[in-house]
C-alpha cells in the first residue's frame, strides 16, 4: 500500500466538494445536487485501508460542512458509518462488478444524506424538508449510483497510470534454461 491512493482519494474529495458548491447546474435542472463524497467512500471502503477511510470521512466531512450551513462535523459520522459497514463486509463483496458498485453507490448515497438529516434533527436544527426532499433524495441516490462505477473506472485508470504497480514474479529461471545446439 502506498500513499498515492490516499492522496488521490483526498484530492478527489476536495475537488468534489468544491465542484458541488461551485457548479449548480444539476441543481438547476433536477432541483437537487448529487453528493460525490459517498461515492468516494464506497471506493475507499473497498480498495483502501481504514486510515484512508477515516481521513476521507474526517476531511471530506469537514470540507463539506465548511462550505455549507451545516454545523461543523455533522457530515463526518454518516460518511464514516457507511464506509465502515462496507469496509467490514468488503471480503464478501464482488467489488469488480459494475452492478455491485452501482448498488453500493445507491445505498451509500441514500444512507449518508438520511443519516445527516437525522443528526441535524437530533441536534435541534431545522433543515429545509418537505415532499420535494423525497425527489432530492431520489436524485442523489440515482446520481450517486451512476457515478460510482465511473469513479471506480477513473481511480483504477489513475492507479494504473500513475501509481506503483506490484512487481509480478516471473516463471523464468535462468538455471533451468534449455541450452540448444552444441556447447
Amino acid at each position: 500500500m502506498n500513499a498515492f491512493r490516499t492522496i488521490l482519494i483526498l484530492a478527489a474529495a476536495f475537488l468534489a466538494v468544491f465542484g458541488e458548491a461551485a457548479f449548480p447546474l444539476l441543481r438547476h435542472w433536477l432541483g437537487a445536487q448529487v453528493d460525490l463524497l459517498p461515492v468516494l467512500m464506497v471506493y475507499t471502503a473497498l480498495n483502501a485501508d481504514i486510515v484512508t477511510l477515516s481521513l476521507l470521512a474526517g476531511l471530506g466531512g469537514l470540507w463539506f460542512d465548511a462550505l455549507s450551513a451545516n454545523p461543523l462535523g455533522v457530515s463526518i459520522l454518516p460518511l464514516f458509518a457507511v464506509g465502515f459497514v462496507i469496509y467490514l463486509q468488503r471480503e464478501l463483496i464482488l467489488r469488480e462488478l459494475p452492478f455491485a458498485q452501482f448498488v453500493l453507490g445507491a445505498a451509500a448515497c441514500a444512507g449518508v444524506p438520511a443519516l445527516s438529516v437525522l443528526l441535524l434533527l437530533t441536534d435541534g436544527q431545522e433543515p429545509l424538508l418537505g415532499w420535494g426532499s423525497l425527489w432530492q433524495w431520489l436524485v442523489m441516490t440515482v446520481g450517486g449510483a451512476v457515478a460510482t462505477p465511473i469513479a471506480f473506472e477513473f481511480f483504477n485508470r489513475c492507479q494504473h497510470a500513475l501509481g506503483y504497480q506490484p512487481r509480478t514474479e516471473t516463471s523464468f529461471r535462468p538455471d533451468r534454461e534449455i541450452q540448444r545446439g552444441r556447447q
Binding site: 437537487a32 453528493d35 460542512d65 450551513a69 465502515f84 425527489w135 432530492q136
Partner: protein, 268 residues
C-alpha cells in the same frame, strides 16, 4: 489485531466528532472559516476561468456595436442624472418636512456589489457565499438584495467571504407587509418546498386578513434587520389555518433565487 485497528479508528473518529460538537460556537466558526479558506486557490482559479471567456468575447466585439452601446449608456446616464437631481430635491423636501414634524431623518441606503461565488452543497439549506467579507465592512445580519427585491441576509462573515442565508431557508425570517388597504403584516418563513425556490410562505397574518392574488408584499421594517419598503414578491394564494386563528399565504418572490450572480449588500 486487524479488528482492533478498525475499532480504534471508529473510536478516534467518534471522539473527534464529539470534540468538534463540544467546541464553543466561536471556535467552531473559526474552524469552519479555516477549513473553507483552503478553497481560496480554487476560488481564484474559478474567477480567472470565468473571466477568460468574458475577455475573449470583449475582444471580438465589433467597434460599431461598442459605439452603439456607449451611445445608449450616455443617453441612459443623462436620464438617470435628471432623475437623480429630481430625487435629491424630493429628499431635501422630505428632510425639511420631517424636521418640521420632528420625525427621525431617513438614512440613505449605502450599497456594495457582491458576486455570488458558491452555493450550499447540501440540499437542505438555502445559502450562498459572496465575495465580500469583514475587510469590506460586511457584518452579520446585513440585508442582501437585487434590483428585483430582497434576497436574504448575511449570516456569517469571513475575511474575504460571507455566507448569505436566502429567503425560504429556515434561518431567514422577514417581517412583511402586504400592500392592501388593511396593510396586513406577517412573517416570511421557510417554504417547506425544497425544490421550488421561487415560492415562500407568508405566515401569522391575522385570521380575518383578505388577500388577493397579485398584491405586492414588501418588508415592513419591523425587526430592525431589514429596512421598510424593499420588494419581496406578490401574493399567489391564501388560506386560513389553525381553525381560522390566522391566515397563511404563498408569495412568489420578485428576486430569482435560482439564478443569482450578483447581489447588493445594504449597509445601514
Amino acid at each position: 489485531m486487524l479488528r482492533k485497528k478498525h475499532y480504534l479508528a471508529l473510536g478516534a473518529v467518534t471522539l473527534a466528532v464529539l470534540l468538534i460538537f463540544s467546541l464553543p460556537p466561536r471556535a467552531t466558526s473559526r474552524l469552519k472559516l479555516a477549513a473553507s479558506s483552503l478553497f481560496l486557490p480554487l476560488f481564484g482559479l474559478l474567477n480567472t476561468a470565468q473571466q477568460v471567456p468574458a475577455g475573449a468575447a470583449n475582444a471580438i466585439m465589433p467597434r460599431r456595436a461598442l459605439l452603439k452601446e456607449i451611445g445608449n449608456l450616455q443617453l441612459e446616464n443623462q436620464q438617470l442624472r435628471i432623475q437623480s437631481a429630481q430625487a435629491a430635491a424630493m429628499a431635501r423636501e422630505n428632510d425639511q418636512l420631517r424636521a418640521q414634524l420632528g420625525w427621525q431623518r431617513q438614512v440613505p441606503w449605502k450599497l456594495k456589489l457582491a458576486t455570488v461565488i458558491l452555493r450550499d452543497p447540501a440540499n437542505w439549506w438555502r445559502t450562498v457565499q459572496i465575495d465580500l467579507g469583514s475587510r469590506d465592512g460586511v457584518r452579520e445580519n446585513l440585508p442582501v438584495l437585487t434590483p428585483d427585491g430582497l434576497v436574504g441576509r448575511v449570516s456569517s462573515v469571513g475575511f474575504a467571504r460571507s455566507q448569505v442565508v436566502l429567503l425560504g431557508d429556515p434561518g431567514c425570517h422577514v417581517s412583511a407587509l402586504v400592500q392592501n388597504p388593511a396593510h396586513d403584516i406577517g412573517i416570511i418563513s421557510a417554504s417547506g418546498r425544497p425544490i421550488d425556490s421561487s415560492l415562500v410562505d407568508l405566515t401569522y397574518l391575522s385570521g380575518n386578513a383578505v388577500l388577493k392574488p397579485g398584491e405586492n408584499v414588501i418588508t415592513s421594517g419591523e425587526g430592525e434587520i431589514f429596512p421598510p419598503g424593499i420588494p419581496l414578491g406578490q401574493i399567489v394564494d391564501s388560506r386560513t389555518v389553525e381553525f381560522g386563528l390566522y391566515t397563511e399565504a404563498r408569495v412568489k418572490l420578485s428576486a430569482n433565487l435560482g439564478a443569482l450572480d450578483q447581489v447588493w449588500v445594504l449597509f445601514k
